[in-house]
Symmetry: C2
Subunit: 234 residues, 2 copies
């Protein structure tokens, strides 16, 4: 009987983990669509991303509810509990990544629908988005495989993305100074690159929850040097 | 014996709630100091805000750990569990409000340390910060008194703050177009007002967790109209 209950509990946990990965897949798709629409100016695609954020939100609420029910009903032991708390935190970040995808779509729509003095430049934005998407995939993969080593790589990629954002900002300031008519569009572009930079932050957060889950050690707010020492064991 | 354990448990919960409020007080102080320094250009004060973010971070880690230990050791029933999950979520938002205060200080320092063509204009920023601070205080108060009605007011104030941000953005774009030499400073000022707008978002999040705690109903991602209907019971 106890064995039966335990198997059922394992199945419940497995179901929740699968749904976190589905939610992650949806969020990834939202970013991809937003960036695609940014390159092509496809307004219908922007609208679809904006509308489908509601789906991401409802997935968060449902998984969160399920987690709380499981804790209350199963009274899980420490290790299982850590998994559930990790899920609760992870879906908060996934939901906010979804918000950022929606913001990218809103800004993109604004840019394409307003009067333009020159074509928008999204080459650097696309590159940044590729880095952020790779980070998200790696974070989800770390969550799926309970792989704590990914956190180190994500911390390094996040620093790269922060540098990319700073470079894009300098570039945009140069454009604005050269031609003040580009100011409105440049500000919208700036918010898009900020949204991408935040997707990187949230992905890094997720990888840090995985480290806490696997190693029982909280590496949030720890410097990259300290994380290296931790992960590499010296 | 069970009664003794239960009393001790209540005390543990009370201690945690007190520390959340202390963390909230510290975060509030960080915002106040950052805005004060913004008005006076006090670099030492900026530096203090930047340095003390580490204290906010460590409070989050400590409270989070304590919550997880309590759940594992006490196997709390559903209602107590909801309190603990609320705390875990609340401190995440408080920590991010601390990050925003630190960002304001960093941007302010940049503005005062760079060559300026005109005095920075922070009057609107200060007004926005007052709204955001009032929201944070109200959210903490709702948490302390388990008052679900505050969520409605916070949702309305958050919309006001979003409007203020949009107005500030339009204002800054006008400045930049009139005098492109103000572009760099205007962008820094823009990021400061964005940080304040996010403090409002996080405060609203906290008030929504309190509603969930009190009413067992998740109002995140619900429209203001729906929240009104919920809260006012019609």
């Amino acid at each position: 009987m106890a064995d039966h209950i335990s198997k059922q509990f394992d199945m419940e946990l497995e179901t929740i983990r699968t749904r976190v990965l589905q939610m992650g897949g949806l969020v990834e798709q939202q970013i991809l669509s937003a960036i695609d629409a940014l390159m092509s100016g496809d307004i219908a695609k922007f609208d679809k991303v904006i509308a489908e954020d509601a789906l991401v939100n409802s997935m968060e609420v449902t998984i969160d509810d399920d987690c709380q029910h499981i804790i209350a009903r199963r009274q899980p032991a420490a290790s299982d509990l850590r998994i559930i708390i990790t899920v609760i935190k992870t879906i908060t970040d996934l939901e906010r990544i979804g918000d950022e995808a929606q913001k990218i779509a809103r800004m993109g729509k604004t840019i394409y629908q307003s009067e333009r003095y020159q074509m928008p430049r999204f080459r650097e934005i696309r590159k940044m988005a590729e880095v952020a998407l790779a980070m998200l995939r790696r974070a989800l993969d770390a969550f799926a495989r309970l792989d704590a080593s990914a956190a180190l790589e994500l911390a390094e990629e996040d620093m790269r993305l922060d540098d990319d954002f700073a470079a894009e900002l300098r570039q945009l300031i140069t454009f604005m100074m050269e031609d003040p008519r580009t100011i409105s569009m440049s500000i919208d572009t700036l918010f898009i690159s900020k949204a991408i930079e935040r997707i990187g932050d949230h992905s890094k957060n997720i990888s840090e929850y995985v480290v806490y889950l696997v190693k029982g050690k909280d590496i949030r707010h720890t410097s990259l040097e300290d994380i290296k020492r931790e992960t590499l064991g010296h």
